[in-house]
């Protein structure tokens, strides 16, 4: 799965948690979950849980703390997927 595919999947996951239609329509690497999509900490947890389920990976506390924007989140998902593939 390449980065664009990951971002596409992320868009689908994030959509139900944000009312910011314009920001949602223009999600890219620079989109910030809190500032641009106005997602609160409780919904951010649900997004992380949805990511775990969708990609079949486990997100630890340190990774979670970094997953505040699309770029960091995509990097972490890509790294986890790669680590799993290498096992």
């Amino acid at each position: 799965m390449n980065k664009e595919q990951i971002i596409d999947a992320l868009k689908t996951i994030v959509q139900p948690y944000s009312e910011e239609t314009s920001a949602l329509a223009h999600i890219d690497e620079n989109t910030d979950f809190i500032n641009d999509l106005k997602i609160n900490s409780a919904n951010l947890v649900d997004i992380i849980l949805d990511i775990e389920e969708k990609f079949n990976i486990e997100i630890d506390n340190d990774s979670m703390a970094k997953m505040l924007n699309v770029k960091a989140t995509t990097d972490i998902i890509a790294a986890k997927l790669e680590a799993r593939a290498g096992q």
């Binding site: 609160n40 900490s41 409780a42 919904n43 947890v45 649900d46 992380i48 849980l49 506390n61 979670m64």
Partner: protein, 146 residues
């Protein structure tokens, strides 16, 4: 952590405390009771000459027993005061609760991840009838001591 210690850590004042006794708490859930005595403040207005426990109070009772007591227990090893902010709930209200009714609330943990606690909670009346049920979630917020 004893049930008594959990009750002592609840952050509510007398007028908004909806936990009388905590019957059981473990890693997976909590169970407790509350009796809505007839002179509680909201009966005067809900409704005029026809007191019925407001659904929002039933939801608060479910949250205090099912979510907050469990949350305090789950972070018992952390030496900090904890408060819980309810972040979402979806509850069905099936039966009215009148003054002087005693209810029992039981919660089952769905998940506790990244300080978010999500529970399936139900409330039964003294006849054992289901009064309300649903899912409640909240964020646990630690406050530094002192």
């Amino acid at each position: 952590m004893t049930k008594h210690e959990i009750l002592a850590k609840l952050p509510y004042g007398k007028s908004f405390l909806f936990v009388d006794e905590l019957l059981h708490v473990d890693e997976n859930g909590a169970k407790g009771t509350f009796t809505y005595i007839e002179n509680l403040f909201f009966y005067e207005g809900h409704f005029k000459n026809h007191p019925v426990t407001p659904a929002v109070i039933l939801a608060e009772t479910m949250a205090q027993i099912g979510l907050v007591c469990l949350g305090i227990y789950l972070v018992k090893d952390i030496d900090q005061d904890v408060s819980v902010a309810m972040t979402s709930n979806a509850i069905d209200f099936l039966k009215p609760v009148y003054p002087d009714e005693k209810v029992t609330v039981t919660s089952e943990k769905i998940y506790f991840r990244f300080n978010k606690l999500s529970c399936k909670v139900k409330m039964v009346n003294m006849a054992g009838e289901l009064v309300c049920k649903g899912n409640i979630s909240g964020m646990l917020i630690s406050k530094e001591n002192g």
